[in-house]
């Protein structure tokens, strides 16, 4: 199993009476590609925050890649996330004032604390079809499509076993989106990475073998 959640409950500290997430049991297998859709407020971001270890649940067990996140300290979860989980966002994927190489190095820095392997980074950038003349430009000067591909490279630099994409494709046009989705699907297959794709855009579900509605996972009614 790459993700296994059971008896999970989560509330925000500022409003303890309002349960945000309540999941009896939910799991994702090794190298599975899952699409989760749901409206905003359905608990998607909280679910992702718990799986990535940015937040911890009030109760319940969280196993990610067979590690018990609910037993780890915050510092350990940060390290675990850096080493094992790749993350791609819809926007603000990169530190705008760093260039492509530096952004990828930064991803490596939190995972190992050592200097990144320059050759591996260059191979990744080539594999993701990013022209060499863009490598040293500040990322704020690049197009959204280019930024997203660099973000994927950053997500892959630590050879993660789980890739999370959060509304990752909705800000690009149809053609680029199709390219992006195909790239993401083939990369995750090729590198044996489980893929968790979260979006409200139902038109993307045909890329995925498994599609889940957030409302089916979360037993708390959205309001």
């Amino acid at each position: 199993m790459s993700i296994e959640l059971s008896n999970l409950r989560f509330t925000y500290k500022d409003s303890p009476n309002q349960t945000v997430l309540h999941i009896d049991h939910w799991q994702v297998g090794e190298q599975e590609q899952v699409f989760i859709h749901g409206p905003s407020g359905s608990g998607k971001s909280s679910l992702l925050n718990i799986i990535s270890g940015v937040q911890s649940p009030d109760s319940g067990d969280v196993y990610v890649l067979k590690h018990a996140l609910h037993q780890m300290k915050s510092r350990q979860r940060d390290r675990f996330r850096a080493q094992n989980i790749g993350y791609v966002f819809q926007q603000f994927n990169l530190i705008p004032y760093l260039n492509a190489i530096e952004n990828i190095e930064l991803g490596n820095y939190f995972a190992s604390g050592e200097k990144a392997d320059k050759r591996f980074i260059q191979e990744l950038l080539k594999e993701l079809n990013i022209a060499e003349n863009l490598w040293l430009k500040p990322c704020s000067k690049l197009s959204i499509g280019q930024q997203q591909r660099i973000a994927i490279a950053r997500a892959l630099v630590n050879k993660p076993r789980l890739l999370i994409a959060d509304e990752a494709s909705s800000s690009i046009d149809y053609h680029n989106r199709d390219m992006f989705m195909k790239l993401l699907m083939s990369l995750s297959k090729e590198h044996n990475i489980s893929l968790l794709f979260v979006s409200h855009d139902m038109s993307l579900k045909h890329y995925f073998p498994r599609v889940e509605a957030m409302t089916d996972i979360n037993r708390v009614e959205a309001n």
């Binding site: 990535s52 996330r81 603000f92 994927n93 990169l94 939190f110 950053r154």
Partner: protein, 410 residues
């Protein structure tokens, strides 16, 4: 990577960072300048006169006497008679006595009439004796010895003829132009008002004033032929005493203060300087207080700038968290940015302060009789710089904590 991130992030916000650095460096400049000038003026005042046990002048405030006799600031209230000088110089505790006669100038620089004993007995700094870099003490009536800085500034050499002016104003309309003086000696630099003074014999002062009445030249009188010894002054401005034993200082002081022939004051230079510091301490403290307020304003500005930047960087902080940065990293990142800004400001402040001190050195020396060194790195100022950095880091902890909290809660 950590430092690179902070650097690039600051560079990305160059505009507000530059303004903050300027605000900080102005305040650090003021803080350092106040502290440095305070220390240096004390040291400079204290080093201007040493080895002199008592200064005697007409009855007046001790501070006033010290300031006009040694620092050439202000004007003497009254002269004292030559007879009193001779009498007191005879007291058995007195080792040596050097008369001083003020009132003339040359291009705004003070002319001091004295005896050759001045060059042998007067010392400055840590009991340094005066030395001649060229020539020797005056011998003849119209000989003059000049200070190092004056010689350099006005480009005077041995043998040059100069004309003294009556009065101490920068521009004088009554010149002693009928009796030019010849430069016979140039003193080595001392870093005291001596560097900007001219020294002539008392007889010389007497000679140029013969034929003057009520400060006005009377035509048809000259003393070119009169030998030096015969020109005894009637009065002098003040005189300095060296005693045989320091233990005799208070006794001699009392004796002079009770002198029957004339109302005199004798002061101990060291004690009077201490009095001066006491008066100055209120001003010093208020200057320091204002300087620290300016500094507090500047670091509050720094905090505000960082605080505002954090609002703009919410996404960046979230992203850093997602790729594995612990909240502590975010905290340290903001603190590092504050530290970089602080160090840049210190650098800018120390550079400008050093530059402006070395540019204004001679101006301050000629106007205030103070020699302010342009080397601002004393243990005290390093300590001050360190506390500035600590204060900046403490205040930057506010925005850093803010960032930390926003990192904790996604």
């Amino acid at each position: 990577m950590f430092i690179k991130l902070a650097q690039k992030s600051l560079k990305n916000r160059a505009g507000s960072v530059v303004l903050t650095v300027l605000a900080m460096s102005v305040s650090i400049f003021v803080l350092l300048a106040v502290e440095h000038i305070r220390q240096q003026s004390k040291a400079s005042f204290a080093s201007t006169v040493s080895g002199v046990d008592l200064i005697v002048g007409a009855r007046t405030g001790s501070l006033n006497l010290l300031l006009y006799s040694v620092f050439h600031i202000g004007s003497p209230s009254n002269n004292i008679s030559w007879a009193s000088y001779e009498k007191i110089a005879q007291i058995k505790q007195v080792d040596w006595a050097v008369p001083i006669s003020l009132g003339d100038s040359h291009k705004g620089y003070r002319v001091i009439g004295t005896s050759t004993d001045f060059f042998t007995h007067f010392s400055y700094g840590n009991k340094h004796k005066l030395k001649f870099s060229e020539g020797a003490a005056f011998e003849k009536l119209y000989d003059v010895v000049i200070g190092a800085e004056l010689a350099a500034k006005l480009n005077y050499k041995l043998g040059d003829k100069i004309v003294l002016a009556h009065g101490v104003a920068k521009t004088s309309f009554s010149m002693h132009d009928d009796k030019p003086f010849t430069v016979v000696g140039i003193l080595e630099a001392t870093g005291t008002p001596i560097d900007q003074s001219l020294y002539v014999s008392l007889a010389g002062i007497e000679a140029i004033h013969t034929g003057w009445q009520h400060g006005v030249k009377q035509p048809g009188s000259a003393v070119n032929g009169t030998p030096t010894q015969q020109l005894k002054p009637e009065s002098i401005t003040a005189f300095m005493l060296g005693l045989n034993s320091r233990l005799a200082v208070f006794k001699t002081q009392r004796e002079i203060n009770n002198y029957r022939g004339e109302a005199l004051s004798a002061i101990l230079p060291g004690a009077t300087l201490a009095e001066l510091w006491q008066m100055m301490s209120l001003m010093e403290n208020s200057l320091r207080f204002v300087a620290s307020l300016v500094f507090v304003a500047a670091i509050l500005g720094l905090s505000a700038m960082l605080m505002a930047s954090i609002r703009d960087r919410k996404h960046e902080i979230h992203l850093l968290r997602i790729i594995g940065a612990p909240p502590g990293f975010i905290f340290l990142l903001i603190e590092l940015e504050a530290l970089i800004i602080c160090l840049l400001s210190m650098l800018l402040a120390t550079l400008t302060l050093t530059a402006s001190l070395s540019l204004s050195h001679s101006f301050i020396l000629s106007h205030f009789g103070l020699s302010i060194s342009s080397n601002i790195f004393s243990p005290n100022s390093l300590y001050l710089l360190l506390s500035i950095a600590v204060a900046a880091l403490l205040l930057a902890a506010i925005p850093a904590l803010n960032a930390y909290n926003s990192a904790k809660k996604p």
